[in-house]
């Protein structure tokens, strides 16, 4: 059965996430970060930031909240039971500081079939309160046996 590509280009309602100091510290500790700019506000201030800065991969925290429901979109039609996260890329423009609010826009960039698998590629663009892009993400999900 060929994949349904009608959702290519679909965009979803953006979502805003308030980056909190303790959440950044919790995430940084979970992934084993030891750099004090992620853990200690005084160290972050000494480095020139207003508060702790998020590790680059903290992007998954503020993006997922907005993106997760879009993976179940019926028009995209991913078979979740057979889905795996196949690839991921991020481009970072600058560190994100605790206290900022980040708004993420989610869209379906591509859907295609290759080697009997369905590939579903989402793009996320996360912007700061000045509407400037801070992180761009490309998320590739594979569905076996489409």
């Amino acid at each position: 059965m060929p994949v349904n590509t009608s959702a290519i280009g679909k965009t979803f309602a953006p979502g805003t996430y308030a980056v909190g100091r303790e959440k950044v510290k919790e995430y940084a500790a979970a992934v084993g970060e030891t750099n004090p700019v992620h853990l200690d506000p005084a160290a972050a201030r000494a480095a020139g930031y207003d508060d702790v800065i998020a590790p680059p991969m903290f992007a998954v925290v503020f993006i997922s909240q907005t993106m997760a429901p879009t993976l179940f979109d019926p028009e995209v039609g991913m078979n979740f039971a057979l889905m795996v996260h196949g690839g991921q890329s991020f481009t970072w423009e600058r560190p994100i500081v605790a206290g900022e609010e980040i708004t993420t826009h989610v869209s379906v960039k591509d859907i295609y079939e290759k080697d009997g698998k369905g590939f579903y590629v989402y793009e996320t663009i996360s912007k700061d309160e000045k509407d400037e892009t801070v992180v761009t993400g490309e998320w590739t999900f594979l569905v076996r046996g489409v």
């Binding site: 500790a29 991969m57 996260h85």
Partner: protein, 129 residues
Amino acid sequence: MSFEAGQTINELKVTPDRFLPIRYAGASGDFNPIHTDQEFAKQVGLPSTILHGLYSMAQVARAISENAGGPEKVKSLSVQFRGMGFPEKEITVTGTVREVTDGVATIDTVAEQDGNQIIRNAVATAESA
């Protein structure tokens, strides 16, 4: 630090303990039970709970950040998830600088566990200064 083409980066080694996926689930918001529930993981055919792919990717990002001299130097990271990572086994992240152009290093990296690549074709860019 400044990178040079052909240079190998300092490797990063970390052994996630058996409760790490639970802490990462809480920190990240990804509560898929294949990462936290042994019985569920076995029911769906896995040998045990597995690591979150994005946790393993975060180890690659951490290696790049530490080698580059700070998180603000990390410009991009692109990876493919292959194989499965497991708690209580050491992860080793290695990398080689492919090129340095206009002050930006392109670094090829791999994360492996027991010789199995769990992150492959990982390409990072980082400021070299």
